[in-house]
């Protein structure tokens, strides 16, 4: 069977599709703001005419390469293409800043491959027993897992615990927007806006919080991302960096696979958890957040393992582990192959697909290493030129999800939130995890109650649930108990504290206080608003807003004495070379949204790119004009050629 599978996968036509998929995946992955889900969804219609095996190899190649390509921009520019590569920014970007971008990309390629390979072994070797185990994981267990992950977040943000909890609460509040958690028949916190009735897509919040915030920084700093003149490293050194850390490799692969195998948890959770776990146990934890190779290895291996691990529930249970896997599953169905328990009974086809997945991973390694050198040069492009281009891609990415300009405006708003968080050293990632975990915890809580016919005992009578909840309690209480046990205080490294960057140009305490007041008002409104809904729909919002109010007021009480202290010390503000002040950047983004709505994407993009680069200080028209007009034409062709419903002319020429 295996030999036959490999022979089919190695047929010239399939190899051709494999390479093509790799190529397309790399391009889509490298573009910031568009991730694997976008790539697979766009390419899906092109596979209809293909033979099922070729189609699956093609799509799996796009899926895997996109996931790797996503890391490239995270590492080089700190602008993740989708939420799955957010943790790659944390140590990848500092490495780039040290002039080791090539090595970091090498680590990403090798890490993705290593994770993917382990995932593949698991997929082919023990898919069946794992499936049996995954079936037993029900609503109460998912609830317990969600609570555990939330606990991990608050623990990880030690040093800034209060800010971490506050931002996680805000993230949870954002996740409350949408359908009610019990039947989904009514909506809450949608304020009559139809686009809010089904909730806010992750892509929109993620692009705003991470990519747009970073772009604002880039516009502000001007010059280029990296000041080091020439990169002195090679991508091949990434091999060694990964291989000399077998423990890191093993830990991250286990985390990635575990999360990948359980349906409905998703790849983002895998890469974030992989990073956090490594940060807790690694010997290099002191360097985490400042360019520790181990951190990047962990994030990449977990992600790679989850990307392939995700396919296990997709193929064997018919339950997709992520959005991308859901689209892959759709492709299977269209080609007349049933994902699910009978998948393996389709003759040599499944073996050919599995062989194809392995070849994809190998191909990814080779292309990843060989193109790293060229991609690494992108950091020497002036920010005034690079940043506006990334903005355009963010606009495209957030628009493409639901085809509405509303989402683009929402994304810019999230950008403002992300930027404010950076300035005031709030951990944005806590918010992202709140957004991701909110539905997991809340929906499964009510689901469990219904499964238990309304009795809360269901959370303690199921063994797996009980173990998970006890583990969470142990986790949470460990920092308080451990000093008594070990009698020595070990300095924990605050992960998120180290993510501060950009020099605070204004007195941060002023902004911080204002922000805190806004946050308190927000939670007050949430508390007031949640009373309008019936008991079950309003309960989680009520609880979260009370926690938010409590933590916020406590934080305020701590801040006030600090202000007095600060006044006495009189710290002089650090002078910064302001290229484009943030207020101007956000005004430009706002104008871009308006123009997007009125005159369509291509035309508004040309105007925006010209304007923003000009204001940013890049005024060589010989480069600017062809670049901007070319981008506009490209967007126009993209809309026409790929059938993406882009607003080509906005309201100028109504469709």
């Amino acid at each position: 069977m295996w030999l036959e599978g490999f022979l089919i996968a190695l047929k010239p036509i399939n190899l051709l599709y494999l390479l093509l998929g790799n190529f397309i995946g790399l391009i889509i992955g490298v573009l910031p703001a568009v991730g694997p889900a976008f790539g697979v969804a766009i390419m899906l219609p092109f596979t209809f005419g293909m033979d099922p095996v070729s189609a699956l190899i093609f799509l799996c190649a796009i899926h895997a390469t996109c996931a790797y390509g996503d890391s490239i921009t995270s590492i080089l520019m700190k602008t993740p293409g989708s939420s799955i590569s957010v943790p790659s920014c944390w140590d990848g970007f500092p490495l780039t800043q040290k002039g080791k971008g090539g090595m970091a990309l090498g680590i990403a390629a090798v890490g993705s491959f290593a994770g993917g390979f382990v995932g593949w072994l698991l997929l082919v070797a023990i898919a069946k027993p794992i499936t049996r185990f995954a079936i037993e994981i029900g609503a109460p267990e998912y609830f317990a897992l969600g609570v555990m992950a939330l606990g991990l977040v608050s623990l990880a943000s030690k040093g800034e615990t209060l800010k971490g909890i506050l931002w996680a609460c805000i993230g949870l509040s954002i996740s409350f927007v949408g359908g009610d958690p019990v039947t989904g028949l009514t909506s809450r916190f949608s304020f009559g806006v139809v686009w809010l009735e089904g909730g806010i897509p992750i892509v929109v919040s993620m692009l705003g919080l991470f990519a747009m915030a970073q772009v604002t920084n880039m516009m502000e700093q001007g010059e280029t991302l990296v000041q080091v003149k020439e990169a002195k490293d090679s991508a091949l050194s990434g091999f060694w960096e990964v291989l000399r850390r077998p423990l890191t490799l093993a830990r991250s692969a286990v985390v990635g696979l575990f999360i990948g195998v359980l349906p409905a948890l998703g790849t983002t959770l895998a890469s974030v958890t992989g990073y956090l776990v490594e940060q807790k146990y690694s010997r290099e934890k002191a360097e985490f957040g400042q360019g520790a190779p181990a951190g990047l290895v962990a994030a990449e291996v977990s992600k790679g393992a989850c990307v392939v691990g995700d396919l296990i529930p997709t193929f064997t249970l018919g339950i997709p582990g992520s959005i991308t896997a859901a689209i892959l599953m759709g492709a299977l169905i269209i080609h007349g192959i049933d994902p699910g328990p009978r998948f393996m009974t389709n003759g040599s086809m499944p073996y050919a697909v599995f062989a194809g997945i392995l070849l994809t991973q190998a191909c990814l390694l080779v292309t990843g290493i060989s193109v790293a050198k060229y991609f690494a040069k992108i950091v020497f492009v002036p920010n005034a030129l690079l940043a506006p281009l990334i903005v355009t891609l963010c606009f495209l990415g957030s628009y493409a999800e639901r085809n509405t300009v509303f989402d683009v405006g929402l994304m810019v708003t999230f950008g403002l939130v992300g930027w404010l968080s950076q300035r005031t050293q709030y951990p944005v990632v806590s918010m992202l995890l709140g957004i991701l975990l909110g539905p997991l915890v809340e929906v499964n809580f009510y689901r469990s109650l219904r499964v238990g016919l309304g009795s809360y005992t269901i959370f303690v009578t199921r063994p797996i649930t009980l173990v998970l909840l006890l583990m969470t309690v142990a986790f949470m209480s460990w920092p308080f108990v451990s000093p008594y046990l070990r009698r020595k205080k070990e300095a924990e490294t605050p992960v998120f504290e180290k993510q501060r960057e950009g020099d605070p140009s204004t007195n941060p305490l002023g902004i911080e206080l204002a922000l805190l007041f806004l946050v308190l008002i927000f939670f007050g409104l949430l508390q007031w608003g949640s009373w309008q809904y019936r008991r079950e729909t309003g309960m989680f919002p009520k609880v979260i807003s009370i926690i938010g109010l409590g933590v916020g007021i406590y934080h305020l009480l701590i801040l006030i004495p600090r202000i007095v202290l600060r006044r006495k010390q009189k710290v002089p503000p650090i002078p910064v070379n302001l290229c484009v002040p943030p207020w101007l950047s956000f005004s430009l983004f706002g104008l871009y949204v308006l123009f997007f709505y009125f005159i369509g994407l291509p035309a508004s993009t040309v105007l925006f790119l010209l304007g923003a680069s000009w204001i940013g200080g890049y005024r060589r028209l010989k480069v600017l004009l062809p670049l901007t007009v070319g981008t506009g034409i490209c967007l126009y062709l993209l809309a026409r050629g790929l059938g993406i419903p882009l607003p080509t002319w906005g309201l100028l020429i109504p469709r």
Binding site: L44, T183, L185, A326
Partner: protein, 330 residues
């Protein structure tokens, strides 16, 4: 400029002018014939789902049977659980360049929940029905019940997605039990939950779900099917009537999966005729039926536009009649 150059120049201009006017005339004459450019096909759910799959299978066949082979571009408008897509179809310009695929159940649900505003499902232009399969009731082997009789008067846990809460309530009414509805994100998730014993029963369109029963190693047991007669494909499965559930014909129509292809209200008659003809020919293409079968969808019985309309509006009427039941669940 020499005389020769002048002449060449002049001739060139004449040629150009002639070509331009020709193209212009061709454009004018073609504009009168529908269709002359791409048709947008709205799908209110994500790529990869059931509606999307059916739309994408249908699209190339529709192109084949239209008088001019224009592209059928599938657009996924996913937001608010299908509401945005449905509204797009309702509010599109009725020129024949926008059509959509919706499920009659979801249109009825939106209408009854007041999400459609003043829009009336009766105004839509119904073109055809794609796929039709009655629901089948499945019991978990780990459930405390062994048959329908034991469920009477008891609290029974039903699993399913949000979109089938109404059908669940109807079935519970016929069984005479109290329903505790547990919502899941999708159909495979519900099947797994039932295998786990977290819920007692669930129901699904038999064509795309039977594989789960076959692969469950006895953990899922088929009890009954919501159809008037036994299905030729499943001769051993008793009908609802045989197991003592008195489901009326209107309610039976609600308990089936099937989607409809629609055009916005107010479509001009000639455009409507062209579209109807193309769609109706397409769904009778044996190759299309094959592809649908490959993806586990049964096309039969094939309905005319009028029959499609009657069936869909029948579903709507049943929802309106049982509105109070929905209010209670909500």
């Amino acid at each position: 400029m020499s005389a020769l150059q002048k002449m060449v120049w002049k001739r060139l201009m004449i040629l150009l002018f002639a070509a331009a006017s020709f193209v212009g005339m061709a454009g004018l004459s073609e504009a009168a014939i529908y269709p002359d450019h791409d048709i947008t096909f709205i799908v209110p759910f994500k790529p990869g789902g059931g509606l999307d799959t059916q739309a994408r299978i249908l699209a190339p066949f529709l192109k084949k049977y239209l008088p001019q082979p224009v592209n059928i571009v599938v657009e996924n408008h996913t937001a608010a659980g299908g509401k945005v897509g449905a509204l797009k179809v309702f509010d599109a310009k009725p020129d024949g360049y926008t059509i959509g695929i919706l499920s009659p159940n979801s249109v009825a649900l939106l209408s009854v929940m007041g999400d459609l505003g003043k829009r009336n499902p009766a105004d839509l232009i119904y073109l055809c029905r794609t796929g039709h399969a009655p629901y089948m009731l499945v019991l978990s082997s780990r459930s405390r019940f062994k048959n329908i009789q034991e469920m009477r008067g008891q609290k029974v846990k039903f699993g399913g997605t949000t979109s089938v809460v109404f059908q669940g309530a109807l079935i519970a009414k016929e069984i005479g039990c109290e329903m505790v509805f547990v919502t899941y994100d999708g159909f495979p998730e519900t099947a797994m939950a039932t295998m786990r014993g977290d819920v007692d029963v669930f129901f699904f369109n038999w064509d795309s779900g039977i594989k789960h029963v076959n692969a469950s190693e006895g953990k899922l047991q088929m009890i009954t099917i919501a159809s008037q007669n036994r299905l030729p494909e499943l001769p051993n499965l008793p009908t609802a009537k045989e197991v003592g559930m008195a489901i009326g014909p209107e309610e039976m129509e609600v308990m089936a999966a099937g989607n409809i292809v629609l055009a916005p209200p107010g479509l001009p008659v000639d455009v409507r005729n062209t579209l109807e003809k193309a769609v109706q020919t397409a769904i009778r293409d044996p190759e299309l039926e094959n592809r649908m079968k490959q993806a586990n969808y049964t096309m039969k019985p094939i309905l005319t536009p009028k029959e499609t309309r009657d069936a869909a509006l029948g579903v709507h009427a049943t929802y309106v009649k049982n509105k109070s039941m929905l209010e209670k669940i909500k």
